[in-house]
Symmetry: C2
Subunit: 211 residues, 2 copies
């Protein structure tokens, strides 16, 4: 099973690495990081680069497609080469997935029309422009399309997808292997749980005030 | 505030990216990925490489030191250059931290003697060899030493440390920004919670049966 994770300039690193660290542990799987060109791709902070080992053209038929988000998603909405590749890869994929604002790229490629999906909580409303019904759920599965909420949710999505692909035992083994027994020291991880004035501050500024 | 995250061959990617995605959002901070040589450093799976932008020698005095773990930690226990750098960086650091088996490298550098610390659940007992008291907690703070449990725990550690450095509001803002509202689809993330036969399978084989 080939799992392709797409990189583009100013993606959010954990959007890509959460699915990698889970799905990459599927038995008999191969993860490949792809981008328009091979070589280093800088994440949104500028202080981290991941290597794309293959070009999009070299990986035309992945079984699982993972599209991350991040501040760099906005310019990609006009990137015909990327959107065409997403559409073509989706035509033969078993699962087409996204984390954070990566769902807007799936939507821009025309794949989420009439479907339910999620995204980073600040970007949920944008899904409506593409005829997609946003939900506040952390991981949303609609047919073969699996979208996850903001940044860290790609870990939950990866485990859920492993369960679908390889069964509960393998998913539990991966969870135990990465010791995913989350104990956040605060309970502010969603707009429903965070202090209201903090949510307001995010909404009144830009999407990612702290990057 | 300069945050140095160490890379070495066959590190576990999420060990490094969890702290990066949290601590990297501290206002007025700079994250730098360091290794013995600059350039790509392959993670344990072989399918992902992160770029080290600076050599160890170029970053002698980080304020925060982050040491990840992974299968590649074992050979590093004999790497005098790395251990010497960790010791020297620690001499002036404000916080010295690790994720997963990175705590064994801190211990091998002589920094955890007589202290409490944690590590990946399968490696906890190894801490005793260095006069360190292992705990099953997810994040352990002993003086300026903050150690985190396996792989995914670096996210919890990062948030806890942000709280200490910049206060609760900033930590909550980072949690909300990365939408860290974990909802694992299984409850098998620790040896206490996972099915007993799965824990046994891990213990009877090697540390990382799924990588």
């Amino acid at each position: 099973m080939q799992i392709a994770i797409v990189l583009f300039d100013r993606f959010t690193a954990l959007d890509a690495v959460g699915p990698y660290e889970t799905l990459g542990r599927l038995p008999d799987s191969e993860v490949v990081f792809v981008a328009e060109q091979t070589g280093p791709v800088r994440a949104d902070s500028g202080s981290l680069a991941l290597i794309a080992d293959r070009t999009l053209a070299e990986v035309p038929n992945p079984d699982v497609l993972v599209v991350p988000g991040g501040p760099g998603q906005t310019p990609q909405m006009e990137n015909r080469a990327l959107l065409d590749w997403i559409r073509a890869a989706d035509a033969t994929s078993t699962w087409t997935t996204s984390v954070c604002t990566g769902s807007l790229l799936l939507a821009a490629a025309g794949l989420l029309e009439g479907r339910r999906a999620t995204s980073h909580w600040l970007a949920l409303d944008e899904l409506r422009k593409f005829g997609t019904e946003p939900t506040g759920e952390r991981v949303v599965t609609d047919g073969k399309y699996v979208t996850a909420a903001g940044v860290s949710s790609g870990i939950d999505m990866g485990l859920a997808l492993i369960g679908r692909i390889a069964g509960d035992f393998v998913a539990q083994a991966v969870q135990l292997g990465i010791e995913y027994d989350p104990q956040p020291p605060y309970d502010a991880g969603s707009p429903q749980k965070a202090p209201a004035h903090l949510v307001e501050e995010f909404r009144s500024k830009s999407r990612f005030i702290l990057t």
